[in-house]
Symmetry: C2
Subunit: 341 residues, 2 copies
């Protein structure tokens, strides 16, 4: 009971501190985030109304807007980018992310995201494919308004990395051969690449030099890697009611993530691992294996890795002079690994 | 019999003249088209090999490469663009087209294109969606190598027009309310926009002034509109063996094109039209209606419109000094409306 209470207090502190980071971000960014939101919803070309409203819902029901926040904090820290370019860039990054989510939901067959029905749940696959394509075009349009060929080039490379990673994943039978390296390469493509897009292009429009660009790249990459590790841990530790999907859903789909990799390193003889990755376990075997991973030290060891990588993200920013912007970029990284779903 | 022979001779002359236009284009463009082909197939990042080979097949099995040819003839005519930019641009336009085709085949459920199996026929929808996305990223990457923000902006606008048009189509029950205006708006979005992309961006990298840009836009638009009208006529007049789909396949899917619109104008009382557009005809009724349209003057009147629009495309080029490049752009437009499948 004491442990549970202690855990709850810790959780509550984390949630509090998360709220306070985002509050401070909002205070510092002023109306910039509202301007991003308005940019995202300029869908006037989209007809008929039914379609525009549905797309507006998807775009508007976004999460915490961490990627646009990263763009705006970096441009704030560097202090030289024009405000309108920063807003367009922040909007473009978020729109690219939204577009990839629409196709991902179709690919995964997901019916719910962020508590709302996905397009995939209410429309045909054809309409969902086209809506994702429309949002790609929109993201690309917003990016072109930033008026930088280098930004456009990083944008298209990022889309190539994300989609190339998904394709590689789809065409590869990872199974137990999936190593730590495979995992990190995979989550770079899937998640970290979009944070790298946010941090580096914010640098580009601020005239960052090579060393600054490299530091921003390191920050974005480590932030994104830590983010995905925490997501993968929450897939094991979250409660179904909160996460909205069964505990251990990744493993149940044959997807190996860091907790499973770490667990497998010290339980190479656990025969359930191979059957799970081949999708051949009984539901009961999955439940047992997931409970065992959840109760093993693989969870804490995964979180230690996420925290170490977060420290590295923060260290990358030491190149820049201390400022409230820089402090918030560090706090955002900390919040990221302490967050709850 | 005489009529038939005359028709065959005319067809043969058209095929001959088409061959000769493309031969002259190839002679004039030299190794530029081979360089475009090589650019299109630089898929080295794509893993695993199985995937790269499949995508290589799609990209490599392209049609006549009319859009890249248009880019290269326009840059040749204007004479100031760097060769490498023209090659990158021509490749980017063709890659964007290829990407939209991959998603279109998924949306239509098409299993064959240009005589080869579509991705859709051999892969899951998920792999097909992602492959299309990958090709969008690739198109965008090629476009960014052109090193012009204005080109990127026209690219993203074009993708928005194409996809927005398809979505509007999907969410609208056109039925008999479909007018000539609707039809022309639809084929602009679906087909002509890509030719406008080719002609105008070729102008941009050649430093075209406003009047030249406008003339190139008119040429690309009229070329594309005429192209689609001819395609829609061929859907009625082509033989199943040549076209690879049943005669009148558009109408069978409830899609109204110019021959049907013209036929309906003079046969407003034909009750089969409404049942066909509602997808409620019997196969026999479809066969009869399609035969009636095919034997009516709607076919010839559609072709007259295509030829008139082609003349307008050629007239737009009168702004530019006479040259072999300009002559070939005109011949290409003529070939376009005389082509056979």
């Amino acid at each position: 009971m004491e442990g549970l209470n202690g855990n709850q207090e810790e959780k509550s502190a984390a949630v509090q501190s998360g709220r306070s980071v985002l509050q401070r971000v909002r205070a510092l960014l002023g109306d910039q985030l509202a301007d991003v939101e308005a940019q995202l919803l300029q869908l006037s070309d989209l007809q008929p109304d039914e379609l525009r409203n549905a797309v507006g819902m998807i775009v508007g029901s976004g999460g915490k807007r961490i990627r646009p926040i990263m763009v705006l904090l970096v441009t704030g820290m560097l202090g030289t980018a024009e405000r309108s370019r920063a807003i367009n860039l922040a909007s473009a990054v978020e729109m690219l992310q939204t577009a990839t989510l629409v196709h991902d939901d179709l690919i995964d067959g997901s019916l719910v995201r962020r508590g709302a029905q996905t397009l995939n749940a209410v429309w045909t696959p054809a309409a969902t494919v086209l809506t994702g394509d429309y949002l790609f075009a929109y993201a690309s349009n917003l990016a072109s308004r930033v008026d930088s060929v280098r930004v456009m080039s990083i944008f298209s490379d990022t889309l190539g990395v994300i989609v190339g990673g998904e394709l590689r994943q789809m065409f590869t039978d990872w199974g137990l051969r999936s190593t730590r390296d495979d995992y990190f390469r995979r989550i770079y493509a899937k998640t970290a690449s979009l944070y790298v897009l946010a941090s580096t292009t914010a640098g580009v429009i601020s005239g960052a030099d090579d060393a600054q660009f490299r530091a921003l790249l390191d920050y974005g990459r480590d932030f994104g890697i830590a983010f995905q590790i925490v997501d993968d841990v929450l897939d094991f530790t979250g409660e179904q009611a909160t996460v909205g999907k069964p505990v251990g859903s990744d493993l149940r789909r044959g997807m190996i993530t860091l907790p499973t990799i770490i667990y497998a390193e010290s339980h190479a003889d656990d025969a359930r691992l191979e059957c799970a990755l081949r999708g051949k376990c009984t539901p009961h075997q999955y439940d047992e294996l997931i409970a065992d991973i959840r109760n093993s030290d693989a969870i804490e060891r995964s979180l230690v890795e996420a925290r170490t990588i977060t420290e590295s993200a923060k260290r990358a920013l030491e190149l820049f002079p201390a400022s409230e912007w820089r402090a918030l970029l560090c706090d955002l990284a900390d919040y990221n690994v302490r967050r709850e779903l």
